[in-house]
């Protein structure tokens, strides 16, 4: 009978962070990954923020295969005929160490796994955890590749869908209103071309977000991140189809976005090298699963740890930190010599005391506020309409600037804006 101290199901950021931390502390750790290598099943939009997790893994970042550090932020409101874009550039974004990088997960996770192995973690790829073993009402191990493997504690890090979280009774079958669908193309471009088109130098990078007609006015948005020698181009669409009208054809939506005047000149001549998709937890605080049970912990996307903050969409830091704190909880249980739920409950406490659950509490109203349909159709139309009028020079006399703007802002419109602003104060 194979027996380990800790078995981790899933080699994404949460599982790898836990393996790296546990192995570093001398705990016997087995990580089981269903893909050919850790990273081969993992998808990101493309951007990681290091500040929240830098100190949890102090030795990790210096040699990490990240792509470009982001020094230019762009945000655009898009309508079928026109768009309004702003760019932000700030000296602080160029300071060392940079706060945020574009990232490709197949590269990063594979490297992270090697770092965890170098510290003593055992990693078995190409093997799926099919089931959990239960003994005396607690999780006692896993069935993987047809073998029974036993452990003191099992860390479930099997991603946003988390079939294992369901088997552990920590989650139910996911609800569409707690998820969005992300689709992405990686488009290869020369580094020099990227630098020229996006006004970058060296390893500087750009991050653009788009909202409005990119999702035909539905909840979601689109993104473009520059990598070293490619760009990640994609879009995100809420899965709560009950509230929507006719269904959107997602593959066509991405094609249209790529062909739009906002994007086409930026990716011209590029060669698509990968097409990927994954669901993203968007349920916020209300979408979190139960985080622990007897002999089991849940971390990363499997626990629902992703947050849409409007201008920033974050998941990877929460995955890394929850993996780290899950490892700390395991070590606490190891010291106590007990791996029951009451002992592992310290995991919840660690997360409450860290930025993870502090962020989830602070932003608990975000899903409801960001579900406001006016954000995705009306406001882009309004902003673009006002700018159209401002920039227009007629044959005859031009209206005063105030009158031009005021003509778009009726009393009813102003009332609705104030109402929406009240909602935005909860963001």
């Amino acid at each position: 009978m194979e027996r380990f101290e800790v078995i981790i199901a899933g080699g994404g950021l949460a599982g790898l962070a836990a393996a790296y931390t546990l192995a570093g502390a001398g705990v016997e750790t087995l990580l089981i990954e269903r893909g050919d290598y850790p990273g081969s099943k993992n998808v990101t939009g493309g951007r990681i923020y290091l500040n929240p997790v830098r100190d949890l893994f102090p030795d990790l970042w210096a040699s990490a295969p990240l792509e470009r550090y982001i020094v230019r932020e762009g945000a655009a409101m898009v309508t079928p005929e026109r768009s309004v874009t702003f760019f932000y550039r700030g000296d602080e974004l160029k300071e060392d160490p940079p706060q945020s990088y574009s990232v490709l997960r197949a590269r990063f996770d594979r490297w992270f796994a090697e770092e965890a192995e170098a510290r003593g973690a055992m990693i078995i790829p190409k093997t799926k955890v099919q089931d959990l073993i239960r003994q005396n009402g607690r999780v006692a191990g896993v069935v993987a590749g047809g073998d029974e493997l036993f452990a003191e504690v099992v860390l479930i890090c099997d991603g946003a869908l988390s079939p294992l979280g369901e088997k552990a009774g920590l989650r139910t079958w996911p609800s569409p209103r707690h998820f969005a669908l992300g689709v992405k193309e990686v488009i290869a471009l020369d580094a020099a071309v990227i630098n020229e088109r996006f006004h970058l130098e060296g390893r500087e990078g750009a991050a653009h977000l788009y909202v409005g007609d990119v999702t035909r006015g539905r909840f979601g948005g689109a993104f473009l991140y520059t990598n070293l020698e490619s760009v990640s181009l994609g879009l995100v669409l809420g899965l709560d189809t009950n509230s929507a009208g006719e269904n959107l054809h997602v593959p066509s939506l991405l094609e249209d976005f790529k062909a739009s005047p906002e994007i086409a000149p930026l990716v011209r001549g590029g060669q698509g090298v990968e097409y990927s998709a994954h669901v993203i937890p968007e349920g916020g605080y209300g979408g979190l699963g139960t985080l622990y049970g007897d002999g089991v912990l849940l971390a990363g996307d499997a626990a629902g740890f992703a947050l849409n903050l409007g201008f920033t969409v974050r998941g990877m830091e929460y995955a890394l930190a929850s993996g780290y704190w899950a490892a700390q909880a395991v070590m606490e249980a190891r010291r106590a010599g007990r791996y029951d739920g009451a002992t592992l409950a310290c995991y919840q406490r660690f997360l409450e005391e860290s930025f993870v659950l502090k962020d989830f509490r602070a932003f608990r109203n975000n899903p409801a506020v960001l579900a406001n349909p006016r954000l995705f159709r009306h406001y882009p139309e309004l902003a673009a309409g006002i700018l159209k009028d401002i920039y227009h020079v007629p044959a005859g006399p031009k209206a005063r600037l105030f009158d031009t703007v005021r003509s778009r802002l009726s009393l009813g419109e102003l009332f609705m804006i104030i109402k929406d602003l009240k909602g935005f104060t909860k963001l």
């Binding site: 269903r34 893909g35 050919d36 990273g39 081969s40 099943k41 993992n42 998808v43 990101t44 898009v78 490709l104 997960r105 197949a106 590269r107 996770d109 790829p125 190409k126 093997t127 799926k128 993987a144 590749g145 946003a160 869908l161 079939p163 079958w173 996911p174 609800s175 569409p176 998820f179 669908l181 992300g182 689709v183 193309e185 990686v186 007609d213 490619s230 669409l237 899965l239 189809t241 269904n247 959107l248 054809h249 997602v250 593959p251 066509s252 991405l254 094609e255 249209d256 976005f257 062909a259 739009s260 005047p261 698509g272 090298v273 990968e274 097409y275 990927s276 998709a277 994954h278 669901v279």
Partner: protein, 99 residues
């Protein structure tokens, strides 16, 4: 945005051709017997990023798994009453090189 047609079937296939797939094993997604005509399957026909769900005859739905990106959209939208959904066995299915 001008071009608002549907992406051609061949173009979508070509795009999936950028990816590495390791095929084999049993289909990991199946419509439960007798549920092929359930209208609750319709939304996933247009949402599946790989275009693997079809309404072959009006009101009858099919799914294939070659080219599945394992995104989970159909798992979430259709639910356990309508479909069986497992990840492919270890070492099979899509293998991202960029991610």
């Amino acid at each position: 945005m001008k071009d608002r047609g549907r992406i051609g079937e061949g173009d979508l296939k070509a795009k999936l051709g950028w990816d590495v797939f390791k095929q084999g094993g049993e289909p990991h997604i199946r419509i439960r017997p007798g549920k092929e005509g359930d209208p609750r399957l319709r939304p996933v026909v247009s949402l599946c990023p790989a275009g693997l769900w079809r309404e072959e005859k009006p009101g009858t739905f099919t799914v294939t798994v070659d080219g599945c990106l394992e995104c989970g959209t159909c798992r979430i939208l259709c639910g356990p009453d309508l479909i069986e959904w497992e990840y492919p066995e270890g070492g099979l299915g899509v293998q991202f090189r960029f991610g």
